[in-house]
C-alpha cells in the first residue's frame, strides 16, 4: 500500500478499522472530533457499529459491555472527557477487559482550553481512576506513529487483557502527514473464552470487578501486579536520538520531542553535545534507556507541555545519580525551539 496524506485524528480512525476494531462508542469533545466523525462514516460500511453515547461515562461503559462481550472496541476523547471515563477505565482494568482509549490532550485543569497540552500525563500514567491498576500508555509523535501504535494497541490490549491508551495532543490530532498502513503486527493472543456470548455448551461466564472478600481482592490485585510486571518487562519502548556522546540528555515525548529534535540538531551545529530519549511507552516507563546513559551524561533535561509531570518518572529512573532539570509550557502554549536551546545553553553554562 502506498502513502496517503491524512489528518492525525482520521488516521487513528482508519488504523482502528485496519486493526479489526468494529465498535466505537464516544461523545464529542474538541480537539478529537474527527475520530468519531471518521468512524461514523466508515464503520457502518465495515459491518461495524458507531454509536454516539449520551456522555463519556456512558461511552466507556458501552466499551466495557462490548469488550466483555468479546469485541474489539475503541473510544476516544480529550482531557475533561477522559476524567469522566476514569470510572469506567478502573472497572475495565479491574475486570481485565481489552480496549483502546484515545486521549487527544488539551490544556486543563477544569474546562481549560482546546489547545494542545501534555498535562494529562499523571492521569494517564499514574491511574486517574481508583485502585491499584495500570493502563498501557502509548505516546506517538508523528501521524505515522499514530497509525502504527493505534494498530498495535489493539494487539497489546488483547494479549494482556488490559486497557491501552493512546496519549496524543491536539497538534498531532490536527496535523496532516503522509502515512502508510502496514499489515497488523499480530500477537499470539489467547481466544476470548471468557467473553459473555451466551453460555450454550459451557459454564457461565461472568465479567466482574467485585471481590467482597479482602483476601480474594488482595490476591486479585497481586495477580494484576504480576501481569503489570510482565508488561513492564516486555513492552517498555523508547527511541534514543544522538545520546551516544551526549553530555545533556533531553527527555521528551510526543509533539514536544519533535521540537526538541530540531533544537538538538541546531545545538549540535554549535558544538553542544546534546541528545534525547523519547519514551514511546509512558507506562511502562522505559527506565532502561536512561540506565544506558546515566553514567556518560552529566545532566538530564525533561521538556513537556505541562508544568512537570513526566519529570518525576525521569527522576525515578535516574534515582538521584545525576541532576534532572525541567522546562515546560502549559495551558496550550508550546515550547519553542529557541526556548529549548536557551534552556540547554543555560545548563551547559551553569556547568562551567
Amino acid at each position: 500500500m502506498g502513502k496517503t496524506l491524512m489528518k492525525g485524528n482520521e488516521a487513528i480512525g482508519e488504523a482502528a478499522i485496519q486493526a479489526g476494531c468494529r465498535y466505537f462508542f464516544g461523545y464529542p469533545i474538541t480537539p478529537q472530533n474527527e475520530i468519531p466523525a471518521y468512524l461514523a462514516r466508515r464503520l457502518p460500511k465495515e459491518d461495524g457499529v458507531f454509536l454516539q453515547a449520551e456522555s463519556e461515562v456512558s461511552a466507556i461503559n458501552m466499551v466495557y459491555g462490548a469488550a466483555g462481550a468479546g469485541a474489539r472496541v475503541m473510544t476516544s476523547s480529550s482531557s475533561p472527557g477522559i476524567s469522566l471515563k476514569t470510572e469506567g477505565i478502573s472497572y475495565i482494568a479491574g475486570a481485565q477487559l481489552p480496549c483502546v482509549i484515545v486521549n487527544i490532550v488539551r490544556g486543563g485543569p477544569g474546562l481549560g482550553g482546546i489547545q494542545p497540552a501534555q498535562s494529562d500525563y499523571f492521569q494517564a500514567v499514574k491511574g486517574g481512576g481508583h485502585g491499584d491498576y495500570r493502563v498501557v500508555v502509548l505516546a506517538p509523535s508523528t501521524v505515522q506513529e499514530l497509525v502504527d501504535l493505534t494498530m498495535d494497541a489493539f494487539e497489546i490490549a488483547d494479549y494482556y487483557r488490559n486497557p491501552v491508551m493512546i496519549l496524543g495532543d491536539g497538534i498531532l490530532g490536527q496535523m496532516m502527514e503522509p502515512v502508510e498502513f502496514k499489515p497488523l503486527n499480530k500477537r499470539d493472543s489467547k481466544e476470548k473464552t471468557w467473553a459473555t456470548t451466551g453460555m450454550k455448551d459451557r459454564e457461565q461466564n461472568v465479567i466482574n470487578s467485585l471481590h467482597m472478600d479482602p483476601e480474594g481482592l488482595e490476591n486479585h490485585n497481586l495477580d494484576l501486579q504480576e501481569k503489570y510486571a510482565e508488561i513492564t518487562d516486555k513492552e517498555a519502548k523508547s527511541e534514543s536520538y544522538k545520546t551516544e556522546d551526549a553530555d545533556i540528555v533531553i527527555a521528551a515525548y510526543g509533539t514536544t520531542s519533535r521540537i526538541c529534535r530540531t533544537a538538538i540538531d541546531q545545538l549540535r551545529e554549535e558544538g553542544i553535545k546534546v541528545g534525547m530519549i523519547r519514551p514511546i511507552t509512558l507506562w511502562p516507563f522505559p527506565a532502561d534507556a536512561f540506565e544506558e546513559v546515566v553514567d556518560s551524561a552529566s545532566k538530564f533535561l525533561t521538556v513537556e507541555m505541562s508544568l512537570g509531570q513526566m519529570v518525576e518518572d525521569v527522576k525515578l529512573a535516574i534515582d538521584g545519580r545525576k541532576p534532572v532539570e525541567f522546562y515546560g509550557r502549559t495551558g496550550g502554549m508550546i515550547p519553542s525551539v529557541e526556548e529549548v536551546k536557551e534552556k540547554v545553553k543555560e545548563l551547559v553554562g551553569g556547568e562551567k
Binding site: E54, N61, M62, Y91, V206, S209
Partner: protein
C-alpha cells in the same frame, strides 16, 4: 410423588444473600422462570447493578456482566450492539436506575435499545443502609431524611415508568408489584412480555417491580407487604404505560 414446583434452571444453586422477607428473591425467581419458559437461558446475557442485587451474577445461571453503579443500561447497550441476536437484560434498583444512572436509562430508552430492564423499586437505598432514594415517598423517614422526606427540600419522588413512557423508543413499560401471589403472577407475565417484545426486536422494554426492604424500612416482612400496599401503590399506580399494541408497533 408428583413434583409441584422446582427451582428454575435459570437460577444457580447458590444461597441468596437477601434479608429475610426481602422481595428481591421473588423477583429473581420469576425472572429466571421467564427465561426457562422462553428457553433463552443459554443465549441470554444479563447485567447486574450496584445495590443489594450486586451479586445477581451469582444467582442467574446465564452469562453475566457486573456494571458500575447506574451504568447497567450503557453496559447492556455495548453487549447488545455486539450480539444483536442475544437477549440482554439489566436488573437494577431504584438508586442505581433513578439516581446515579438516570441518564443511562433515559437514553437507553430514547435509543430504543433492544434490552429488557427489571427495575426493582423499594423506595430506599438498601445496600448502603437505608438512605433516601429518588423514589422515597413524601414524609418517608430514611437515614438521610430523618425528619421525613420534605418535598420542598428534597424534591418529588420520581415516577420512572411514567417518565420513560414519554419516550417513543420505549415500547413496553409496565409497573407491577410482588406484595401477594396474584400480583406476583402478574409481575411474571409482564416480565415475560418484556422479554418477548425484545426477542421480536421491538425496542426498549422495562418492568418496574414494587418491592420491599424490611430491613431498612425497619418493619417486619409481613408488615412490609402492607406498607407497600398502603403507601407505594397510591403513588405508584400499577399498570401498563406503553405497549407495542398501544403504539401500533
Amino acid at each position: 410423588m408428583v413434583k409441584v414446583w422446582q427451582k428454575p434452571e435459570s437460577l444457580t444453586d447458590k444461597v441468596l444473600h437477601y434479608c429475610p422477607g426481602c422481595t428481591h428473591g421473588i423477583i429473581h425467581k420469576i425472572t429466571a422462570e421467564v427465561m426457562d419458559e422462553l428457553g433463552i437461558r443459554e443465549e441470554t446475557i444479563g447485567v447486574a447493578p450496584v445495590g443489594c442485587s450486586v451479586l445477581a451474577y451469582n444467582y442467574f445461571n446465564c452469562d453475566m456482566q457486573q456494571a458500575a453503579h447506574g451504568r447497567a443500561p450503557a453496559v447492556a447497550t455495548g453487549i447488545k450492539r455486539v450480539h444483536p441476536d442475544k437477549p440482554v437484560f439489566t436488573y437494577q434498583g431504584d438508586g442505581d436506575l433513578a439516581s446515579i444512572g438516570a441518564a443511562e436509562i433515559v437514553h437507553a430508552a430514547a435509543r430504543g435499545e433492544k434490552i429488557t430492564t427489571v427495575f426493582v423499586n423499594n423506595a430506599i437505598y438498601g445496600m448502603t443502609g437505608g438512605q433516601m432514594a429518588p423514589t422515597s415517598l413524601e414524609k418517608q423517614v430514611t437515614t438521610t431524611s430523618p425528619y421525613g422526606r420534605d418535598l420542598d427540600h428534597a424534591g418529588h419522588p420520581i415516577k420512572v415508568s411514567e417518565m420513560l413512557s414519554t419516550l417513543p423508543g420505549a415500547v413496553y413499560i409496565e409497573r407491577v408489584s410482588v406484595h401477594d401471589v396474584p400480583h406476583i403472577l402478574k409481575a411474571k407475565k409482564a416480565i415475560k412480555k418484556a422479554f418477548e417484545y425484545q426477542l421480536e426486536g421491538k425496542g426498549f422494554t422495562l418492568v418496574e417491580v414494587l418491592s420491599t426492604c424490611p430491613t431498612n424500612w425497619g418493619i417486619d416482612p409481613v408488615e412490609s407487604l402492607d406498607w407497600l400496599k398502603d403507601n407505594m401503590l397510591p403513588y405508584y399506580p400499577l399498570g401498563n404505560f406503553r405497549s407495542p399494541e398501544k403504539e401500533g408497533k
